[in-house]
Symmetry: C2
Subunit: 336 residues, 2 copies
DNA sequence: CCCGCGATCTACAGCGCTGTAACGTTCCGC
DNA sequence: GCGGAACGTTACAGCGCTGTAGATCGCGGG
């Protein structure tokens, strides 16, 4: 018995069949007290631990799910990942975190590698590309997190970016701001999150009879703080200083705030700043940042639940769960 | 042939043996061009993908490694995780990210579950407890990230927290600060990172003939921004306002800076602030934060390399790799 | 023309576990 | 006291792949 003990070793030592040990390990209830004791003893004496690969094989399930997000460096996704992990643990799932980074190759690799490795995938797509791919890999259950429009044939957890954008823009308008810049619109693909947020933004303006100033819609290269910094710099350089800035994500907002501080421009005195995604950091920025706070607990919860239920009923009709948000009003848009 | 195609299906279609297909899939070089073609065709026609569980079983290796850190919500660990993931990919490893949260149960579960699931573990321990456990689970190769003293019988990537602390404290002293508070010392366990950093801090003071003021060493409950905020509040409430604050991690520093800003206390005019861990956020804080910047690239690189090499030589002597750091001096300690 | 060798490919026995089917027993309800 | 359900346990055939050992073939040297 070189190497680690196996089921058969435990069985021999306890004087029962392999399957009985297996039953014990898996919590099968109908085992007599005496057998239970013997098996328990044998396991601890031998230090037996089940081989998960073998278990996966026999069972046809792996006990893993994948959680695929653009990038962990964005705290929003890191926080969401944490929630998904703990929620999935309740379903006895181990979570594999995958970073797609929006790169096409990664997204391909994901769908190539994941089946046979995971029981399901929770995908937070960055663009439609990912969604298409995801829908192609129909073998493995997939839950999409994102906009209602994104979903075609997969379960999904939807959020209403347009409505949220409209509401936070309205908040800025309510506080008297009239010239509002935006940072983070990505023009390259349609139907993206930033696109939707921009629509909501425009809609709010239009309702007030205003029109979004093209020049004040600054794109950001990526989702890093440096991108927000640079974008803010561009706005300042343009000459027409807005009285508010709406950032399409909070990380970029951190960069923008940083730039404003270094330029000595008072927030919110001279410029108000608001953003999407209420990451932990937001409340501690200087000044604290007003955000759209998605209900991340509900997102993680719903996603895992949908996956678990799909596991039971593979052919059930596609389902959709909405999650809410609230405005987290802080000093970046209200203080004097 | 219901379900997904298997090796045997591909073999049948290509008119070769199972093993030949297996060889092809695994890059075995001695395969004739004609065979290669047939197999290739069969694979793509059938859309064959290997079953990783089965492969793990046959091979005795899983293709996974675990990267265990206290928590992903700390951007330092999130960033490090990203590096480890991409570096591990080069070794054809998939990384399982585990959050220990410092909870004993998680740490136990880790060592219980991981063997048979991963080929190795990279552990960034929070306390000695984790290290002890890790060393107990000698079946699976483990690489520790942390202090030299922590390591006993496992490969490790070491950083010199004491030296780093001494150096950044010296920087504060050099800029004329004399009353320095610290935030983040955790008194509960010995040999912890925060403990070591505090030693270095004290050492630097002593070299100048100064003594650390006990009252100005404020503990933090956890590693959240709110903890830093609260700690800073306590310092302010104590009545004796220091002229510098050294935070034992950058997240806590964010909270401290936030509090100072809200109280209208100028940084660095009235109080300088410095911290450990040069997370992306640090450069964009208001004001930008001076930090000890570990060479995270080297950390990830070394850890994965040690694990890979240990894989080849299980009985080789334990090895140790040092990684450096540099001071990232920013406005929080220098501006007017 | 035979031998040895490398290149190419195959047969087959596992890897460690679980599902299924089925066995003997005991426990009920009437 | 009997038929049937529930219980406790077992035997065994896979799950899909890989390692090992070995078969086959062509080729150059002797």
């Amino acid at each position: 018995m070189a190497g680690r003990p196996r089921l058969v070793d435990v069985a021999a030592r306890a004087g029962v069949s392999e399957k009985t040990v297996s039953n014990f390990v898996n919590g099968y209830p109908h085992i007599s007290a005496s057998t239970r004791e013997k098996v328990e003893a044998a396991i601890s004496e031998l230090g037996y631990r089940p081989n998960l690969s073998a278990r996966s094989m026999g069972r046809g399930r792996t006990g893993f799910i994948a959680f695929a997000v653009p990038g962990l460096d964005n705290p929003y996704f890191a926080e969401l990942a944490g929630r998904v992990i703990s929620r999935a643990a309740e379903e006895r799932w181990t979570v594999l975190i995958e970073e797609t980074g929006g790169r096409k190759t990664s997204e391909d690799a994901l769908v190539d590698t994941m089946p046979y490795l995971v029981d399901g995938i929770i995908l937070h797509p960055e663009s439609l590309t990912a969604v298409d791919i995801a829908e192609r890999g129909r073998d493995t259950p997939i839950v999409l997190i994102g906009e209602r429009d994104l979903a075609r044939s997969a379960d999904h957890v939807v959020s209403d970016n347009v409505a949220a954008a409209r509401e936070i823009t309205q908040h800025l308008l309510d506080s008297g701001r009239r010239s509002i810049a935006t940072i983070g619109l990505r023009p390259d693909a349609s139907l993206q999150t930033s696109q939707l947020r921009h629509w909501g933004f425009s809609a709010a303006l239009e309702r007030m009879g205003l029109v979004a100033d093209e020049d004040l819609s600054v794109a950001a290269e990526g989702y890093a703080r440096a991108d927000g910094d640079l974008a803010m710099q561009q706005i300042l350089a343009s000459g027409k200083l807005p009285d508010a800035v709406l950032c399409f994500n909070a990380v970029v907002a951190a960069g923008a705030l940083s730039r404003l501080a270094r330029e000595g421009i008072s927030v919110p005195g001279r410029v108000a700043v608001a953003a999407f995604d209420d990451i932990d950091e937001a409340a501690f920025m200087v000044p604290p940042l007003t955000t759209v706070a998605w209900d991340v607990g509900a997102i993680a919860d719903s996603a895992v639940r949908l996956l678990a239920e799909r596991q039971e009923a593979r052919t059930a009709p596609v389902r959709e769960v909405s999650v809410g948000y609230r405005l987290e009003i802080r000093a970046s848009t209200t203080g004097l």
